[in-house]
């Protein structure tokens, strides 16, 4: 399982990059969902988001999940290419699979990489 140390993580498996405001779903989340076949980003550029607000809806062959904002702020960018290539979320969740960027983002209740890794291990048993 890949858990980059520079990112912050939520209990609902989103990641947040304090350096540039990017957010997405974790490697753990994509592997639990399995093959992702559809993503719809539910917010537009310029929109304000609050922590816990649904920012995207993701569907895999076996499940459907809402993705929540890990931080509050203004949406400065939306990864528009994702809807044509939802499988990017499986192959590169922390890179090309970023979903939105939140400007002036103040993160909600987040964990660092070590804590998140431990949290995921606790769930897989």
């Amino acid at each position: 399982m890949n858990v980059p140390s520079n990112l912050k993580y939520t209990k609902s498996d989103e990641w947040f990059d304090p350096a540039n405001g990017a957010a997405g779903i974790t490697d753990y989340a994509q592997s639990q969902l399995s093959d992702i076949v559809f993503i719809e980003i539910l917010v537009d550029e310029g929109e304000d988001v609050e922590v816990g607000k649904a920012i995207a809806s993701v569907e895999s062959v076996k499940a459907s999940a809402e993705i929540y904002a890990p931080a509050a702020g203004k949406v400065s960018a939306v990864n528009k290419g994702l809807s044509d290539k939802p499988e990017t979320l499986n192959s590169d969740p922390f890179g090309e699979g970023w979903m939105i960027k939140i400007e002036g983002g103040s993160a909600g209740e987040v964990m660092d990489a070590a804590a998140y890794e431990k949290y995921c291990e606790g769930r897989s048993h």
Binding site: V37, F38, E40, L42, E59, V61, K62, A63, S64
Partner: protein
């Protein structure tokens, strides 16, 4: 599938688990006087007596197959149902099948739904069809939900033509009452002579959906192409409520550019049945498939390379999306979707076109003869398919009562929904109405 009964041992085990000794103990919480109340029932009848009694009661109904000549339509039409439709429906494999989750055991049901979907998309000129809705009215209301989801609640206005079926408009209002929507155009006092372009001025940047009917509630045929262009220019979606029989003769809603085409598929192999159960169809463009409610069956190949059918985009199913699932509205219309598929494939394209043509020709013959009677006349000048508005010299209720006394089920009394159309009835003519029947209608009205 095997029926698994409960054995005395299993029952005892269950009772033991919940901590009671007997069934009587289990129901102890129910007060004694309510447990076996004396029912006020007449003495028991033998099967023969009961059958005779029921037949006696049933014979007091008058129906359009045996007793009455019908010119009543208004959303439910008297068409011929080939006997093969009923025979297919009553096959146990289809009749008893429930939710077709498992492709391993449900290939027949899944294939039937797939065929139904394919036929409906051909008919409407759209990309995808779901596996059915309760009826045309709820399918139309679901179009509002699709548009609402598409704009993620940011557009809240729907423009509804006043010539969409009044009951459909009522169902849309009921369905969406808690969504905080604004409705425009839906005014029974509106200028009913106005064409579709009258709706254009109501469409703005907050409009999510425009709903029109084709042919409209008064049977008139409009080309909505221009209206749809205008709606699209404002970013709005357009839903056309269509009569499937008429689509065999007319330009398809898909060709006009419609985003959603819904309607009532009762004309396709489903008897009048006192108003239900009916079959709502729902078709749309591929880009809206994720927002479409209901179940979807797709064709694929299995691991041996054989053609097979499966539920597709399954996140709409109960076992995936739980309480947010939308497939549950399809389940119990599956049998009627099968009826429509059997009807369409039995008649074939040529047969369906013949039905449409017969409806059209007979309706126009009837309209011509009726409008010659003194005091009667056609209300609108636009082209119509198989239904038209007839103005009557006396209140519609009186005219219909007089017809009924002569064994004829008259038209729909439009004054009930449109204040401006007192003394107007909506007359429907299908392939079931012979020339003799139409001539009888004309004769009876002449004598009135």
């Amino acid at each position: 599938m095997t029926y698994i009964p409960i054995s005395p041992n299993e029952r005892d085990a269950m009772l033991k688990t919940v901590g009671v000794k007997s069934l009587d103990d289990l129901f102890d919480a129910v007060p004694k006087k309510h447990r076996f109340p004396k029912l006020d029932l007449p003495p028991a009848l033998t099967e023969m007596e009961a059958a005779a009694h029921l037949a006696d009661m049933a014979s007091s109904n008058e129906n359009v197959r045996e007793h009455l000549i019908s010119f009543l339509g208004a959303g439910a039409y008297n068409h011929y149902v080939p006997s093969v439709v009923d025979h297919m429906l009553r096959r146990g494999e289809f009749y008893t099948a429930y939710t077709p989750y498992q492709p391993e055991i449900s290939q027949g049901t899944l294939q039937a739904i797939f065929e139904y979907q394919s036929l409906m998309t051909n008919l409407t000129g759209m990309d995808v069809s779901n596996a059915s809705h309760y009826d045309g009215a709820t399918a139309t209301a679901e179009a509002v939900n699709l548009a609402y989801a598409q704009f993620r609640g940011k557009r809240k206005k729907i423009v509804i033509s006043p010539t969409v079926h009044p009951q459909y408009r009522e169902v849309i209002r009921t369905y969406t009452q808690a969504m905080g929507l604004e409705t425009a155009g839906d005014d029974p006092n509106a200028d009913l002579e106005a064409g579709p372009e009258a709706l254009t001025s109501l469409i703005d940047e907050s409009t999510m959906l425009v709903i029109v009917q084709y042919p409209d509630f008064f049977g008139r045929i409009h080309d909505y192409t221009k209206l749809i262009e205008d709606a699209h220019a404002k970013g709005s979606l357009v839903c056309i409520v269509a009569n499937p029989t008429a689509l065999l003769m007319l330009k398809t809603p898909g060709d006009m550019g419609a985003d959603i085409v819904v309607g009532e598929a009762q004309p396709f192999g489903i008897p009048l049945w006192y108003g239900g159960p009916y079959l709502g169809f729902f078709t749309t463009k591929k880009s809206y498939v994720h927002k479409m409610a209901g179940r979807l069956v797709g064709e694929t190949i299995d691991n041996r390379g054989q053609r097979s059918y499966v539920l597709t985009l399954t996140s709409r199913e109960q076992h995936i999306k739980r309480e947010r699932a939308t497939s549950n509205i399809c389940t119990n219309q599956g049998l009627l979707a099968l009826a429509a598929a059997v009807y369409m494939s039995t008649l074939g394209k040529t047969g369906l076109e013949q039905v449409a043509n017969l409806c059209y020709q007979k309706a126009h013959y009837a309209a011509g003869e009726l409008s010659k009677i003194e005091g009667f006349g056609l209300c609108f000048m636009e082209p119509f398919f198989h239904e038209f508005v007839l103005c009557t010299p006396r209140p519609a209720g009186e005219v219909n009562q007089y017809l009924l006394d002569n064994g004829i089920l008259g038209g729909y009394d439009l004054g009930r929904d449109y204040p401006a159309l007192q003394n107007h009835i909506l007359v429907a003519v299908t392939e079931m109405n012979s020339k003799d029947e139409i001539d009888t209608l004309v004769e009876v009205l002449k004598e009135m």
